[in-house]
Amino acid sequence: MEVQPDAPLVLAVEDEPRNAALLEAILGRAGYRLHVAGDVGAARQFLATERPALVMLDRHLPDGDGLDLIPEIRASDRLGDVPILLVSASVLPRDVQTALEAGADGFLAKPVRVKPLVDEVRRLLDAGATSRKLAD
């Protein structure tokens, strides 16, 4: 499937190159545009100018915890309602709880499977679109 220039843009914050490549392959095939940020700083930089349709966060990043971005996004008028999906290899119940309490809209455990990932991305994008429509 060819990715359209106006396809929804997803920001993936993922430092492991192979896993970033995997997300690119999966989401590309599902018809999304993907921007990868390798650490928290790069993600922040990207978010300063862009407004992705969805943010996917990893947790253990070279310069910090991906969770730290959630309050920043939520506090921003421009980005506040962007859906956030945690994709992490820290899968203990306490980790999942921490992620959801921090304000993530969804949580996927690594290793991710293709279909659940695509379904979850779609669900969050639809929900995001609905809430935007309602807000309008």
Binding site: A21, A25, P62, A89, L92, K110, V112
Partner: protein, 885 residues
């Protein structure tokens, strides 16, 4: 005989009785105070006895009269003399009273010789002089007691007050007697009345004296028990948990209050972990106390040692004042209080220890959970790529048709698979090193060449990040495992590259270390490590959140943990210095020789021989020990390295270890501690053989025996032979007799006893048990409390009464819940009581591990215990030390 005569005589008899008591008391406990008290009663007894004698032999009247009055005059002098033992009395006062006594007595003889008439002015003048003498000297004595009482507390105070009152009362008695006899004239009604009244007063005073200076045992016991009881109540009221300090403080306060001590201090209150008290501490206790009881003046320091393994140096020190009175009572009471405090402190510190143990276990459990969580995280990361990409390939679609995409996906899968393999290998390596099973293959290793090769292999990574690597290498050759040393250098180097930004600098230095070893230094200009994390970076999967010296993206999170383990397996050390934003510097020091290469497999030993492991680095000493041991039929394992020794203890499970202290890698103390900490090696008996003479420390750390070099053959072999009880080092079979009607019982005990090398004998009833005990002479007897034929207590008594079985350790097994009761009944005659259940076997196992038959010093220890409990009058019967049987 008239009523008043009858009264007088019975009062006199009572008085003589008191005199007899004081005499017996003095004879039994010689001492200046008791002697003075006895003299005082002697004087007045003579005075009382005279009229009785006069009744029998009237011719002696005059002589007797002189004797009576003379003896009576001596009383105040003796009282003052008594005071001088308690507090300083002016010499001039003592001399004056003695002089007055002489003058009055001589005057009396003069008067008697000239035969003055009753109620003559001369006689009245004399009587007044005598009265003044009495009132003055006894008054001075009473004031002396009173002043002494003011400076004292507790029992001493009340006893001195009693003494003061008694002295005053005595003076009154004499005044009444003199007044009645001389002034009213003998034979008058007034005189008779005065005589009876004086006797009653004197008797009361005498009882007071006796209570003050030679209180009957029962009285002392009541007083001590009252104080002891209050003390226990206060001990129980102390808040539990945390510290034993409040117990010592309470002990000091109580002893200060109850004794005459001017200074009370607890010395040696620090706990020595796992301590075992040296034999003979009880012996010292008595010696010190005896020395203190002897006559002498000036402040004395008396020491009451704690008889506790937990505080081997613990003792209570008391400064007792000059002229100490009641020393024995103070000491007896103090002993009781010390014993109670020590027991309470033991209990408290046991609780504290248990809390700590629980905390440690919880921490260990949390660490284990963290490790599992981290492990899960680390495994999932590469699995994510492996599963994800393979799934995309399986699903087909357009990517699967593009050979370039397929190749990329396959590369990702492959490299993630390799990463996973690295991770698994690291985990296995780590587990292997931690279990002491890493095989090091030491070779002569050119470290300089190794560093150059390693740098060359990793250079491309540094080049990619425009990092400069500078080398400062000296030629150093050491004995080490090549691939492991390369792994160490590579780990540190790749970390340096990984955590240093583009364009940074990395420096590697190699220099000759101490003792010809190698010192590697790997420094970078990377992001550095926070001080708070420095301690923890060598832990597996340590990841300060969001930061990553061991971050997962390239490494496995195990690199530094493994590196440290590899360095330590070589007998080396690793350290790190770092500053955030400036860089990190890791230093590895490896020893020159791999004699320390801990993980050589132990040489084979013959299974039928008891094996002794010799850890000794001096070749000639090692040779000598080997000759002694092999000559006596032992199989010998020998190593110069402490680390190697520990590994062999785990693998070869020797029956005993001879351990030197000064070793090249880790010292003998460390070996001893580690061996005693590790459940796998804890029960192997270790004897220290060293030039270092610190038996106390050795025993405290768990050594069963200690020899200072040079050691001769006989004592060494004898000591080894003594270990027959718990190990296979033995010249005969060791047996345990199970007296239990339950057919299953022997099987259960076998589980515990056979690994300890026991042969298990069985008896289903008491009679059989008793017979087998006599004929088979087992080394241990276990008796069930519910025997079909005989009361187990009776059986224990019979075994103890029979010389052949008297010294065999006995354990009684009871149904759960009965144990304390049974224990109380058998207190001291057996080794212990096991309440049936899993804990019972554990308790037995613990006892077997710590029990050593101790022929040397055991008898002395038992004697000391007995003496100690006598000193502590009224104390609960001390539990005899286990093993002194």
């Amino acid at each position: 005989m008239t009523l008043d005569t009858l009264l007088s005589v019975s009062l006199d008899i009572a008085y003589f009785g008191i005199f007899a008591l004081s005499l017996v008391d003095w004879l039994r406990h010689r001492g200046p105070v008791r002697r003075a008290v006895m003299f005082m009663f002697a004087c007045t007894s003579v005075a009382l006895a005279a009229p009785l004698v006069a009744g029998v032999a009237p011719g002696l009247t005059m002589v007797l009269a002189v004797a009576v009055v003379g003896a009576l005059f001596a009383q105040p002098v003796v009282a003052l003399w008594l005071v001088s033992y308690i507090r300083p009395v002016r010499r001039v006062l003592l001399l004056a009273s003695a002089l007055a006594f002489v003058v009055l007595t001589v005057g009396l003889i003069g008067l008697a010789a000239t035969g003055v008439a009753p109620r003559s002015p001369v006689l009245i003048a004399y009587a007044i002089a005598a009265l003044v003498f009495y009132v003055f000297v006894d008054g001075a004595a009473a004031l002396g007691f009173l002043a002494a009482a003011r400076n004292r507390a507790g029992t001493s105070r009340s006893r001195l007050l009693t003494a003061a009152a008694s002295t005053a009362l005595f003076a009154l008695a004499i005044a009444v007697l003199l007044g009645g006899g001389v002034l009213a004239g003998p034979g008058t009604e007034a005189s008779t009345f005065a005589s009876v009244l004086a006797r009653i007063l004197a008797l009361v005073a005498a009882i007071g004296y006796l209570a003050a200076f030679a209180p009957p045992r029962a009285l002392r016991r009541i007083s001590q028990q009252a104080i002891g009881y209050d003390f226990i109540r206060e001990l129980n009221a102390l808040p539990s948990g945390g510290s034993v300090e409040p117990i010592w403080d309470l002990l000091v306060r109580t002893v200060e209050r109850a004794s005459s001590a001017t200074r009370v201090e607890v010395v040696g209150r620090g706990v020595r972990a796992g301590g075992t008290a040296d034999d003979g501490s009880d012996g010292r206790r008595d010696a010190r106390v005896d020395a203190a009881i002897g006559p002498g003046r000036g402040v004395r320091t008396v020491t009451v040692p704690f008889s506790s393994e937990r505080w081997p140096d613990g003792r209570l020190e008391l400064d007792l004042p000059e002229h100490v009175l009641f020393l024995e009572d103070d000491l007896a009471l103090t002993s009781v209080l010390v014993d109670r405090a020590v027991r309470a402190a033991e209990r408290e510190s046991f609780l504290v220890e248990r809390e700590e143990l629980i905390a440690d276990l919880q921490a260990a459990s949390a660490a284990k959970s963290d490790f599992v969580a981290a492990m899960s995280h680390e495994l999932r990361t590469p699995l994510n790529a492996i599963i994800g990409f393979s799934e995309l390939l399986r699903e087909g679609g357009e990517e699967a048709a593009d050979p370039a995409t397929v190749a990329t996906f396959a590369d990702h899968i492959h490299s993630s698979g390799l990463h996973l393999l690295d991770l698994v290998n690291d985990v296995l390596d780590l587990a292997r090193v931690e279990a002491g099973r890493l095989d090091l293959k030491p070779v002569d290793l050119d470290c300089e060449a190794l560093v150059r090769q390693t740098v060359a292999s990793i250079k491309p990574l540094a080049n990619d990040k425009d990092q400069a690597i500078t080398l400062a290498l000296e030629p150093v050759t050491i004995e080490a495992d090549q691939s492991r040393v390369r792994q160490i250098v590579l780990n540190l180097l790749s970390n340096a590259i990984k955590f240093t930004d583009r364009g940074g600098a990395i420096r590697i230095a190699l220099a000759r270390g101490p003792d010809g070893g190698a010192r590697f230094t790997i420094a970078d200009t990377g992001r550095g490590i926070a001080a708070a994390d420095l301690d923890r970076i060598f832990e597996a999967f340590h990841q300060a959140e969001g930061e990553g010296r061991t971050s997962h993206h390239e490494g496995t999170g195990l690199g530094l943990a493994l590196t440290r383990q590899l360095v330590e397996a070589h007998g080396g050390s690793i350290s790190v210095r770092s500053e955030l934003g400036v860089g990190s510097e890791f230093t590895v020091v490896l020893p020159a020789r791999q004699s320390t290469a801990g993980q050589l497999a132990p040489p084979a030993v013959r299974p039928d021989q008891p094996t002794v492991l010799v850890i000794e680095d001096d070749p000639s000493a090692q040779q000598l020990l080997r000759r002694h041991l092999e000559g006596a039929g032992y199989g010998v394992l020998a190593t110069p390295s402490g680390r190697q020794g520990l590994a062999w203890m785990r693998e070869a499970r020797p029956d005993a270890v001879l351990l030197d202290i000064l070793l090249p890698d880790i010292d003998g103390w460390e070996v001893l501690q580690q061996a005693k900490r590790d459940p796998a090696t804890r029960s192997i008996p270790i004897m220290v053989v060293s030039v270092v003479d610190d038996r106390e420390l050795g025993v405290a750390l768990g050594a069963v025996d200690y020899f200072v070099k040079p050691v001769s053959r006989e004592p060494l072999l004898e000591a080894l032979g003594r270990l027959t009880f718990t190990t296979k080092v033995r010249t005969r079979t060791v047996t345990a007799l199970i007296v239990d009607p339950d057919a299953e019982a022997p099987t259960r005990y076998r589980e515990v006893l056979e690994p300890e090398g026991f042969r298990v004998l069985e008896a289903a009833d008491g009679a059989t048990g008793r017979t087998r005990a006599g004929t088979d002479q087992p080394d241990l007897i276990l008796i069930d409390a519910l025997l079909p034929d005989v009361d187990p207590f009776e059986l224990v008594r019979q075994l103890r009464d029979d010389e052949a079985t008297a010294s065999i350790p006995i354990w009684l097994t009871t149904p759960p819940g009965l144990a304390p009761e049974v224990k109380a009944r058998l207190n001291g005659t057996i080794q212990g009581v096991l309440a049936k259940g899993d804990d019972a076997l554990a308790a037995l196992r613990t006892w077997l591990e710590t029990y050593r038959p101790r022929p040397v010093g055991a008898a002395a220890g038992a004697a000391a215990t007995t003496q100690a409990s006598e000193t502590a009058e009224g104390a609960e019967a001390a539990m005899p030390a286990e093993g002194s049987a």
